[in-house]
Symmetry: C2
Subunit: 984 residues, 2 copies
């Protein structure tokens, strides 16, 4: 093999393209596995463009080993530079042998070895000094560039890179010995105490090719994907070198270079930067520059295909063209820039031209912008035939059916089942309690469990979107309460009346399915979703607080003045004025208090014992239960705050991530357990959850099947159509808004949605539950989102600092099914459930409401109202819409919400589903107030406008060149779109 050795004469050739390195000669020596046959880096060759979609280069792990000597040695080096005397002196002063230390490493981000602390720093964005990049460039231009070097071992490699004219054979030997020396790697596996490998310089004949045990045990090895390659940068100052020695090697066949790399990976690149001592940390910085270059995917791509020095330098220049520059003194250089949340995937320039602009980093807002929001998804295209949508849904989902069960065979599904089961049971308990309250026991916990199990399992088996979890929801609960008070006002037999409402609702829903009404969900923009969601959350919060305060009426607080102290045990005795007690029934408490009992036979036994001994407990004090009100309040607050705190544990710094995730996922269960524990510890007679002791309806004296008419007139079954109409609207909106949220693009669902099929299932279940007197069920947003979240598939992060990529959801039917079967079995949990105090459940309800409310953008915007502009977070929204417009939009939403709340609270409450539908109208009217650009950021666009605006936006986005997308707001000139509208 021939090498061009750079010497003095190499200096003037620094940037001339005529300087062809030795590597170029190599390129046709052997048929290497991946060198690009095309010499031009400007366009992909014929073979490459065929596989353009998948030219996946292996991941590169880069490390920087640095040659370090003690300061004395450095001083000494200045005095004498002959290698012989250097070696002799080295022999006399063993501790000052220059030894190689691994100091930094890169996959995507930089990790520094913090020597004193003996640990790797957190991964951070590497920052370089511009001069070091330029110095590196000139060193490489003068130095040795070996592309497709056939070396098979470290020894061969070292021999090749040290074959430089400027070195005497003697010096060369020294240099080789030094380079073959085993580097000291910080060993992570042996514990947190820094542990350094042996430092003795090794002979070249040693077994340097066998990877060390530490190399194999390195935890980084497990993280890197198979096929990963290594790149090593060796740098240092050597007193005996008269001039800098730079070498850049691409190995033809990647080989494990002994213990050179920290991890036993085959090395592809090798870079050597040595030279006489220079001021500052020149070589260290140059070596970091080289490593950062190598870690750049685009440079890597180019240099893997480079055929000569010119290509390498061109790649370096291309890198320089794209760097971002921070002015000096404007930021804190000790601050390490944390890795960004999302990496902009840059394609190599060759590919980029053929593939359009860089793959954008999608936030959910940008997602809607990048994506064409109005190409109606196939699920929502109208077929125009009766039940056409339903048949299409079935046709679309049927092929997936087997895989819906096979895809569930993963450990993750097990934990998802556990989590969602507990959430479902909690929900069933709390809603069961609330429904029992609302309907005077016509429904209860038993019905809630049974209904949840039956309806949920059936839905999971049949539905279009089996990730949905059915549950009682706030709006339906509100409606049920209204319906019950209505039927009580008219002395109706509730369950039969309700049965007819259910029958009508099912009918209406079937009509909606037949007419493919679900395509209208495209009009449910975020405005509608948020209005609905906020209303539900507020209902939760209000109900929880209200129920809690009602407890203080049941268990009144005893104030000093209004004493309810008096209590005694009176026996029917000789004094015989028991009759007085029983005959004169006192009107009110004051009467009792002031009443002179006269001569009685009495004791101070507690009421239960008194009764047992034949006496009568007398006096107001006998029936009061003190301390319950405040203790309930304490339980309520404790469970609420505990659940909130546990939820936050997920993002805290404490505990390993498994523990954090567990604590936060099971926050409500743990909060319930804590509440029960506290209650059991103090043993007070707090109100507990009423659970059925046997498998029968809560309402005494009814069978499971509701009789079709009961005590009602037959015409009530016709009249039920009116409330049913309202309920149908509610069910439709509640169901479909949730479905829209669950089927959002950002969840990357592969098996598609089934809006029509879902509604069809809900209608059928409506019929079933009405007939059995069970609660009504629709999709529940929060718990379904939790279900999907627990089934996220993510790529394993291979590079330190890289965040895992979201791949999609494990779409299957099994987890839901198992959850609901378990829920059904839980009907027999009564002996356990009866220990749950009601205030604890109210606290969990409050928590659910607050959590749901705080998750919507509307809440963020309401918070903005309270923030001075200076302190507002840098939301993309705020960069594009004037603050007053944002506030106006928020104010309108608040007003709508207020109106909904008022309607819900007045006698006209029963029409509130209509008002919900009115939200869509309000949103439509907003188009007269806000410009489409503003609505694009504040909300989504409605289907009509999908022609002019987004295209314009996309077009001008393309017109700007790649990486300064932050300036793209220039396209949103406030005037231009307004003109556009008036034209339309």
């Amino acid at each position: 093999m021939e090498m061009k050795l750079p010497g003095q004469e190499g200096f003037e050739a620094s940037s001339a393209p005529t300087n062809v390195s030795a590597g170029e000669l190599d390129s046709d020596v052997g048929p290497g596995p991946s060198p690009g046959p095309g010499p031009s880096p400007d366009g992909p060759s014929a073979t490459e463009s065929k596989e353009l979609g998948v030219p996946k280069d292996p991941l590169l792990f880069i490390q920087l080993n640095e040659l370090l000597g003690w300061p004395q040695a450095l001083e000494w080096r200045e005095t004498g530079s002959s290698s012989a005397s250097w070696l002799l002196d080295m022999g006399e002063m063993p501790p000052i042998t220059p030894s190689t230390h691994l100091h930094c490493r890169w996959v995507l981000f930089e990790e520094k070895l913090e020597v004193a602390a003996g640990r790797w720093s957190a991964p951070h964005v590497p920052t370089l000094a511009l001069p070091s990049l330029q110095k590196l460039r000139s060193l490489l231009a003068e130095g040795l560039v070996l592309l497709d070097c056939p070396a098979q071992s470290l020894l061969e490699l070292v021999e090749q890179v040290t074959t430089v004219e400027s070195l005497s054979p003697e010096l060369r030997g020294q240099l080789q010995a030094l380079l073959l020396q085993r580097p000291q790697h910080y060993n992570q596996t042996t514990g947190t105490r820094p542990c350094w490998g042996s430092t003795h310089p090794r002979k070249a004949s040693d077994d340097e090719e066998a990877p060390l045990r530490e190399q194999c045990q390195n935890p980084l090895r497990q993280k890197l994907p198979p096929g990963a390659e290594a790149g090593t940068v060796l740098a240092g100052e050597l007193g005996f070198l008269a001039q800098p020695l730079g070498a850049f090697v691409r190995l033809r066949d990647p080989v494990v270079l002994g213990s050179l790399a920290e991890v036993s990976l085959p090395s592809r690149f090798f870079c050597l930067l040595l030279g006489p001592p220079m001021l500052g940390k020149g070589y260290h910085e140059m070596a970091r520059a080289a490593a950062v270059l190598l870690s750049d995917p685009q440079f890597q791509w180019s240099v893997r295909r480079a055929s000569n020095l010119h290509d390498v330098l061109a790649a370096l220049d291309a890198f320089l063209e794209e760097v971002t520059v921070l002015p000096p003194g404007r930021w804190d250089p000790t601050a390490r820039i944390p890795p960004p949340k999302c990496l902009h995937k840059r394609l190599p320039s060759q590919q980029r031209e053929s593939k359009g602009p860089a793959v954008p980093c999608l936030t959910s807002a940008e997602n809607r912008h990048g994506h064409d929001p109005h190409a109606p998804s196939p699920e929502l295209q109208r077929t125009g035939r009766l039940f056409g949508g339903l048949f299409q849904d079935v046709r679309r989902k049927a092929p997936w059916y087997p895989s819906d069960f096979l895809d569930a065979l993963h450990l993750q599904c097990f934990s998802a089942v556990l989590y969602i089961y507990l959430a479902t049971v909690t929900n069933a308990i709390t809603f069961g309690g609330l429904l029992g309250d609302a309907t005077d026991g016509a429904q209860g916990v038993m019905e809630s469990f049974l209904g949840t199990a039956v309806a949920g399992a059936a839905f999971c088996l049949m539905a279009g979107q089996p990730l949905t979890i059915l549950s009682s929801t706030g709006p339906v609960l509100v409606f049920e309460r209204l319906l019950f008070s209505f039927s009580r006002d008219y002395s109706l037999d509730y369950l039969p009346f309700r049965l007819w409402v259910g029958i009508w609702v099912a009918t209406f829903c079937l009509v909606l399915v037949a007419t493919e009404a679900s395509v209208l969900v495209r009009y449910f923009t975020r405005f509608t979703e948020e209005g609905f969601c906020a209303l539900i959350s507020l209902i939760f919060i209000y109900d929880a607080v209200n129920k809690m305060l009602n407890l203080t009426h049941t268990y009144p607080i005893q104030k000093p003045g209004s004493s309810a102290y008096g209590c005694l045990c009176q026996y029917p005795g000789p004094a015989g004025n028991e009759s007085q007690w029983t005959t004169t029934s006192p009107k009110d408490r004051d009467d009792i208090l002031s009443m002179d009992l006269g001569l009685i036979n009495a004791s101070l036994l507690p009421p239960p014992e008194c009764t047992r001994q034949g006496g009568h407990p007398r006096g107001p004090g006998c029936h009061t239960v003190p301390d319950i009100a405040f203790f309930s309040l304490l339980l309520f607050l404790t469970s609420f705050f505990f659940a909130m705190a546990l939820k936050c544990v997920k993002t805290s710094r404490f505990f390993p991530s498994v523990v954090r995730r567990g604590l936060s996922d099971f926050s409500s269960v743990l909060a319930i357990l804590l509440g029960c524990g506290l209650d059991a510890f103090l043993g007070l007679a707090t109100p507990k959850l009423m659970v059925p002791r046997e498998f029968k309806p809560t309402l005494p004296g009814r069978g499971w099947l509701v009789s079709p008419f009961g005590a009602n007139h037959w015409w009530w079954s016709v009249a039920a159509a009116l409330p049913a109409l309202l309920l149908s609207i509610l069910i439709f909106m509640d169901q479909q808004i949730t479905a829209v949220i669950l089927n959002r693009v950002e969840y990357r669902l592969k098996k598609g949605a089934g809006f029509h099929l879902d509604l069809f299932c809900v209608a059928l279940l409506m019929l079933l539950t009405s007939a059995l007197g069970l609660p009504w069920y629709v999709s529940a947003t929060v718990i379904s989102l939790a279900h999907m979240d627990s089934l996220r598939r993510e790529s394993r992060a291979c590079a330190p600092g890289e965040l895992p990529n979201f791949l999609g959801i494990r779409e299957q039917r099994l987890t839901g099914l198992v959850v609901f079967i378990l829920t059904g079995v839980s009907i027999f949990l009564a002996p356990v459930l009866k220990f749950i105090p009601m205030p604890v459940l109210y606290g969990i309800f409050l928590y659910m409401g607050v959590a749901a409310l705080s998750s919507i953008q509307f809440t963020k915007r309401v918070k903005l109202l309270l923030m001075p502009a200076k302190h507002q977070p840098d939301l993309l929204l705020l960069r594009h819409v004037p603050l007053t417009r944002v506030h106006l939009f928020t104010a309108i939403q608040l007003a709508c919400l207020g109106l909904l709340w008022i309607i819900k609270s007045t006698p006209a409450a029963i029409i509130f589903p209509l008002m919900l539908l009115g939200l869509v109208g309000v949103r439509k009217a907003l188009e007269r107030v806000f410009s489409p650009q503003e609505l694009l950021w504040l909300d989504e666009l409605m289907p009509e406008e999908d022609r002019s605006i987004p295209e314009k936006g996309l077009e001008s986005e393309h017109s700007f060149s790649g990486n300064d997308s932050e300036d793209s707001e220039l396209m949103y000139q406030p005037k231009a779109p307004e003109i556009n509208i008036s034209v339309n």
Copy 2:
């Protein structure tokens, strides 16, 4: 004036230094105010080096105005490029007139105008693309550089910069008209809605020199310091230009260039970057590069003194040498880098060489490192004479005495007084309550108020460090409690015994003052401080919780079984078995409950009324007060959490900063008010603060002067010396640790400390308070720090994004004095104070303990124990000390704390001051376990070691070049210092 006009021939001369621009010819035309007479930028000239200390250039405000046209216009421009046809077409399409918009502005950081949102972005670190800097360089090299341009108006300036050969006179006229057009500035004062100036193109003869009203009203104007100058960058694409037109102008005399700048500032620099349309946002980016360059202090410094094009380009190259480079695709370009907490002040390179490395950005940890920690401050140098330290203190402080009152004449002092007064009163109330409990009323709220007022005011008048606030402190409270139980065990008359203890303590303290023992505080490292501080905090927390739980014994919770229901009102009636009640005194509650009362004459009247009507309330239920226990707990938790939450408001995004500061500063007061409000609202009989109704000692029957012996034997006055010795140690440590904390270097106190004088004052006050039977007082850390914090002097931030600089503390005696006078007056607040429920005060106590505990580094390290290494914050400490060593240090501190706590809780408690002193010994012993480097980061070094290590550290820090100080941990090689120690 002559101009060199760049044309085609300028291209090859892009970097040759022979290309001398027209500006060079200007440099000797007129005697400008500030041009550097020396032509070489490498070293300061003779005149400049004289004033090297104060060559303060005025602040520069830079703005970028951009010429914008509509896309149609841009398209049109491509078809025809003659200026005549362009103008004609422009006349036909008025809306597409290119108009100048202000788009970015800089003082230190960049602010972008978010056009669509109509607001300025938050200030952020500007990022540039490297190519735009390079393009700018070549444009300037070819272009026009006018240094010391004598133009006096915008018109003159525009005429000068457009006198270019390549432009025809016609084109020049067009260009001038365009440049004289009034730019559209976003007007902040008219509201948040974007408001644009008039867009009509103006004639050159218009009144463009008169600053517009918006310019003067601009809020930025008020922020910029007087003397600030403006720089304007004008950029844009013009179809009629055949080639780029670049001009860089430094005006000889800064003049207000009409409405060019957003703020009516005299302009010093003017940069014009125009050219034919090019791909991407070339001119925008180039203009940003120019603006960032101008905003760089060092470039500014150079360019103000530049005499020719060469100097300007050299300054640009110097800038490039110092930039930091971020590799492409490694960070999110849409993320704006927030301004750093602290700016590294870079001096111009000329000054830098003579002044050493850059002024470092001091964090408190670095501060200790940069600063020589062991040059004993003058306050702590031993004089060797009796009372030498005291005399020196007096001599040092006396000259400041008048200014100690005059310096207080500032509005800030008023709010400081209010804040500290409320804190002091809260403290007096809470400690008064606790002391009353601890001493069975020998001291109480009255004594607490009186003592605080007298001792505090006296201390403020006499002390060496008048910023100190005296207060009862936790350790002294603990000791007092021990002393009281001791004297009770020995049936001593407490106050006389205490008087003797006080006399002895005063004596011992005077001995300590005489022997200058305060110089020993140098041994109180952070280890000691934190141990002490943690103990105090734990005592606070424990006491608060303990007191709260004790309430549940006083007001027991009534469980269902153990009913204390029974209560009746029994009259002495004919049945006459009242005697039975009075004679047979039942042993316990069970007896009463089961007791058959037999035939009685009874009613159910509540106890008070019963007594009034001549009856006897009978039964256990008559004396229980229900609900109090839980309500107290609620009050306790409410006040604690409310105070905690309010404290956090300070760092939240909500509310204007005045409101936030107010809420957080008065958090405890507001929490107390909330608690009182809740309590008053429900009106329950919670235990309230016991306050004296008249001005007399709390203990009945004693005068204000304590009798010297009372009922005690005389020899007790001698025996009192033993506890007094212990108390002296405690007082010394408590006082001096606080003094050390208050006098830390980072507070930049100018008037110096007075350790000896402070201790002397404390000793005298000890004598006084003992004689009057008032509590003992020493410096209280937390409240004193709050005092200092409320008196911080900060520089007004002039540049957006710049954080205000801490200048020092408003050191004076008046605020403290007024606070204590007010406290004295508050003795007459009794009618108000009696409404404060005790649980609220306990809650505040808990808050104080938790707040104090969470403020020390020890707590941070304890938290580290719970964090996986991956999630730990990037503390400097962790970069330099192995995690296991950090944990070991924390564990040792925890063990010490545990030991102290155990001792405090055993009968040996009275010796715990000795154990506190033992902390110093433990810290000494730690030097055998930890290396000095580790201790330097974990703690501070003790005086003995101040020779070798820090110097070594500083030395090697110097050896590295300026700005990559993050790599300086390389100097902390774990081995090197260990060798050093063994040598010592």
